[in-house]
């Protein structure tokens, strides 16, 4: 019994940094994973990846000006991500290019800019810190940032829900029915992208810019295998992200591995299990359950 306690509860009971890391990842799981479900539904699964690179020049610029200050770096990242997302939206409305194409071009330019800025100023260690983060290094302001972002984005997603569903399911119906400002299709798209950006920035402190996308996308992808209803998929994604966050933190503590990649590894393991066992997965297809008469 005490073994089990040492294994599962002890690390959190004993160390404040473990508790902060746990709260931060659980908060992220609640807000980021449902956004990931919407990204997969909109066939924009790789957009999170693109945006996570797009925040880099903002983070780097803030780092150069203000040093390793979390609020500055977070604000810089959000600003850069929003500029890239908004520019991509403007380009897709003003030209013949689709949004994903214009975004691809912009985020690559942003990435190049970010890497240039970082290599001019910081040492290699700073770059690693920005790219890979450290859940175990979350301090009080960092925790407040993550919790604040999670709260805002859960409430905002609830407010956007119906419009976002309609815009994803049948954009033409929405465009045809638009009677006022609020129902213009791009408003939903842009607000949604803003939520994605602030969640990625909240994630970069705990997981790093590259790993933050993992907690957003992997649970979302495997949740889609389990349910036919959107509400269930959203809950399942959050639950899987939370499970991956908790088990990942414990594993990284006991095995002395980096926390971010371990959390994503756990999410990957859940994904593999889902691929095998879920109703939409491989085993049920092989087992061929008997069909009903109607």
């Amino acid at each position: 019994m005490s073994d089990l306690y040492d294994l599962l509860v002890g690390p959190f009971a004993e160390f404040a940094f473990m508790r902060r890391a746990l709260v931060a990842t659980l908060a992220l799981a609640m807000s980021a994973a449902p956004l990931g479900v919407f990204l997969t539904l909109r066939r924009m699964s790789l957009l999170g990846d693109a945006l996570s690179h797009a925040v880099l020049p903002g983070v780097a610029l803030a780092f150069m000006l203000f040093g390793l200050s979390l609020p500055a770096m977070a604000l810089g990242g959000v600003a850069a991500g929003l500029v890239v997302a908004a520019l991509a939206g403007v380009i897709s409305r003003a030209t013949a290019l689709k949004e994903d194409a214009s975004l691809a071009a912009l985020y690559l330019v942003a990435l190049a800019l970010g890497v240039t800025l970082i290599s001019r100023q910081g040492s290699q260690i700073d770059l690693l810190h920005i790219l890979f983060g450290s859940a175990l290094g979350v301090d009080e302001p960092g925790l407040l940032l993550v919790a604040g972002v999670a709260s805002v984005s859960v409430v905002a997603l609830a407010a956007l829900y119906r419009g976002l569903v309609l815009e994803t399911f049948d954009p033409l119906f929405l465009a045809a029915a638009h009677t006022g400002r609020a129902s213009r299709p791009w408003v939903w798209q842009q607000s949604f992208l803003m939520l994605v950006v602030i969640n990625l920035v909240a994630g970069f402190q705990t997981l790093g810019t590259l790993m933050a996308v993992g907690l957003m996308m992997i649970p979302a992808v495997s949740a889609r295998l389990w349910h036919e209803s959107l509400a269930a998929q959203l809950l399942n994604a959050s639950a899987q992200a939370a499970a991956a966050g908790m088990s990942g933190l414990l594993l990284s503590y006991h095995l002395d591995t980096p926390s971010g990649p371990t959390i994503i590894g756990c999410a990957g393991a859940l994904y593999a299990l889902s691929l095998l066992l879920s109703p939409g997965g491989w085993l049920p297809r092989i087992l061929k359950r008997p069909h009903r008469v109607a």
């Binding site: 539904l41 994803t168 033409l172 119906f173 029915a177 609020a182």
Partner: protein
């Protein structure tokens, strides 16, 4: 052209819509009769869908203008099915309820009366028992019935239907045609893009024959003549990448 009896619900004046300078609709003028069933026909690529889209304001005219006497919230538009994401985890009943969007918007509540109307609409299109199924699990005929239920929900005065019977079996087509006739007796205006000449002749009193240019507009029997159809076929084939700039507007001025 299009000198129709009755008042007009939509008036087109010298309408031109082009994609990359090539006209999809070229100097179209006419009036859609209020309360009539109007069919829009023509060969592929003759601008039928573009006409509906420009009435909805989804594409901008390059010239001319469109006037509608109906507020947008009272116009319903059924696009071609290919533009809807049917893999989306959406239940039939929720999809029908989306027809309330113009009245309740993004944040308004769905009342018990609306739920009852949605169930009645699902009953009308013959999909009782399918309320909780996802749209992805339906056949395309069943899904088209769902979209008609959503149109019922919208309670519009002007219905624009883009190839509503495409790939439907005869039973579904008959059921949906019956609905259209019901709208007709309720005094609603229906404009439908169609392909089946016999169907147009049997059910629609007005017809617009397009081939990027307007070939004919008026009572169906007068429009659907072999001479008109032949002319439409010839016009539709005349695509020229290096066509000269049209000066019709300047000549008229």
């Amino acid at each position: 052209m299009g000198g129709c009896r009755g008042s007009a619900v939509v008036t087109l004046e010298n309408l031109t819509v082009s994609y990359r300078q090539h006209p999809a609709l070229h100097h179209i003028g006419g009036k859609f009769v209020k309360g009539a069933l109007t069919a829009v026909i023509g060969p592929n690529g003759s601008g039928k869908s573009t006409l509906l889209k420009s009435i909805m304001g989804l594409v901008q005219p390059a010239g001319g203008c469109i006037r509608t006497d109906t507020p947008r919230s009272r116009i319903a538009y059924l696009p071609q099915q290919s533009e809807i994401d049917r893999s989306f985890p959406m239940q039939v009943r929720d999809c029908v309820l989306l027809g309330n969007w113009t009245t309740v918007g993004a944040w308004g509540g769905i009342s018990a009366a609306m739920l009852a109307r949605a169930d009645a609409a699902i009953h009308t299109v013959g999909l009782v028992g399918f309320e909780r199924r996802t749209v992805g699990s339906l056949s395309s005929g069943q899904f088209q019935r769902v979209l008609f239920a959503r149109l019922l929900m919208q309670d519009a005065n002007l219905m624009l239907l883009d190839e509503p019977f495409n790939a439907m079996d005869s039973r579904t087509t008959a059921a949906l045609l019956a609905l259209i006739h019901q709208w007709h007796t309720q005094g609603r205006t229906v404009i439908a893009v169609l392909h089946d000449d016999a169907q147009v002749l049997a059910h629609f009193d007005q017809t617009v024959l397009l081939a990027r240019e307007l070939v004919a507009w008026g009572p169906t029997a007068q429009v659907l003549t072999e001479a008109n159809l032949q002319r439409a076929r010839v016009l539709a084939e005349a695509w020229d990448d290096t066509a000269e700039i049209c000066h019709a507007d300047e000549a008229a001025a």
